[in-house]
Symmetry: C2
Subunit: 221 residues, 2 copies
């Protein structure tokens, strides 16, 4: 009964998020729509930020699941297809849920601190991307340029990232990071309106950018 109500609250909140954005999320409006009084919401979510946290975690999981499913539909050895499928899944989800995407990959909500619970859900999408890079590397399918070499001082940081793509050498790790930035940078541009009046064939342009990004970490197109 309680679980049912909390789910209903998040559903309504998500709908408000889609129409009014993160700033327009109002506990009183949610309560109004549920026929409850505003203070009753606080029985389920101690504060507005806690409701936001729930929405953010849901967002991470929804995006991660979309990416996982799209990538899982590809043959394991078709590395480029897997990369394209995962990338397009990110973009498709972001375009379909721009406000939720803004919540998790846009500017941080002021005064809001993400609790530790979010950390596992947050990595689902990038875990998929890392696995593709690792599989491709271990299959001998990556042939990145040899230069430039990463500077020595970032070796420790590469070690952290390698958790997502075991067995991949440092230079490829950094190239994969750059491709990751290309992917999400492009999606940010599109979702946040930077392409308005400039790029109209959004899908084709993104697809080409994805292929360029694949080539950047050595995945032949």
């Amino acid at each position: 009964m309680r679980a049912e109500l909390t789910r209903e609250i998040t559903d309504i909140a998500r709908r408000q998020l889609a129409t009014d954005g993160a700033g327009g999320l109002s506990l009183r409006a949610v309560a109004r729509e549920m026929g409850m009084v505003s203070s009753a919401i606080y029985r389920y979510f101690p504060s507005r930020d806690d409701l936001l946290t729930a929405l953010i975690i849901d967002g991470y999981n929804a995006l991660g699941e979309a990416v996982e499913q799209a990538e899982a539909a590809c043959p394991r050895t078709a590395h480029l297809d897997r990369w394209l499928a995962a990338g397009h899944a990110v973009r498709d989800w972001a375009v379909a849920h721009p406000h939720e995407y803004a919540l998790i990959y846009g500017s941080p909500v002021p005064g809001y601190q993400a609790p530790q619970d979010t950390v596992v859900a947050r990595l689902r999408d990038v875990t998929v991307l890392g696995a593709i890079v690792a599989d491709a590397w271990n299959a001998g399918a990556l042939h990145p340029p040899a230069t430039p070499e990463p500077p020595a001082e970032v070796a420790a940081d590469a070690e952290n990232i390698r958790a997502l793509m075991s067995g991949v050498p440092d230079d490829v790790v950094w190239r994969a990071m750059a491709s990751w930035a290309t992917l999400y940078g492009w999606v940010n541009f599109e979702v946040f309106g930077q392409f308005n009046n400039t790029i109209e064939r959004r899908w084709a342009a993104f697809d080409h950018a994805l292929r360029l990004a694949a080539g950047e970490f050595g995945l032949a197109t």
Copy 2:
């Protein structure tokens, strides 16, 4: 006298922006700090959104000016140096003014529509980047890979972008766009907290990513 007061309002607002973020921008708080009554602010800015617009335009100009100055200090033929200087200028400014950066390159403020006045200021930074690519290409300094070729249907969009880098062929235009996405995607990750507990040597990692991005559009490192 009027210009003086409007400048004071934007200054105080910018300071509040730096501490509380865009959502915490309060007209009443600005008025309080100026010793005025809240309604008096409306003599200078008809609404909160108009104040936001002024801050956004200021942000575009501040970022654009920082990039222009950093790039102008490099010899015209040192294309890689110009690229690195401009890229680091973007990152330095973004790290120094995270909330202002979020205002112009982060999630759009809900319900806020950027008026046409912003369009010239908005392009100052990317104009610099485009000029570097164009200069390098016209000097014969770019040697990008031939594949993959951009699909035919995005040719019209490339035409729009070529306004920023005249004389550059389509495939290089799209490679420059991808590098642009890499640059700003990386800065977004860093400023918006995606690198927390992962990448600590921020400057060195970004510098390497910048060099990878330069190589992506054919600028040898």
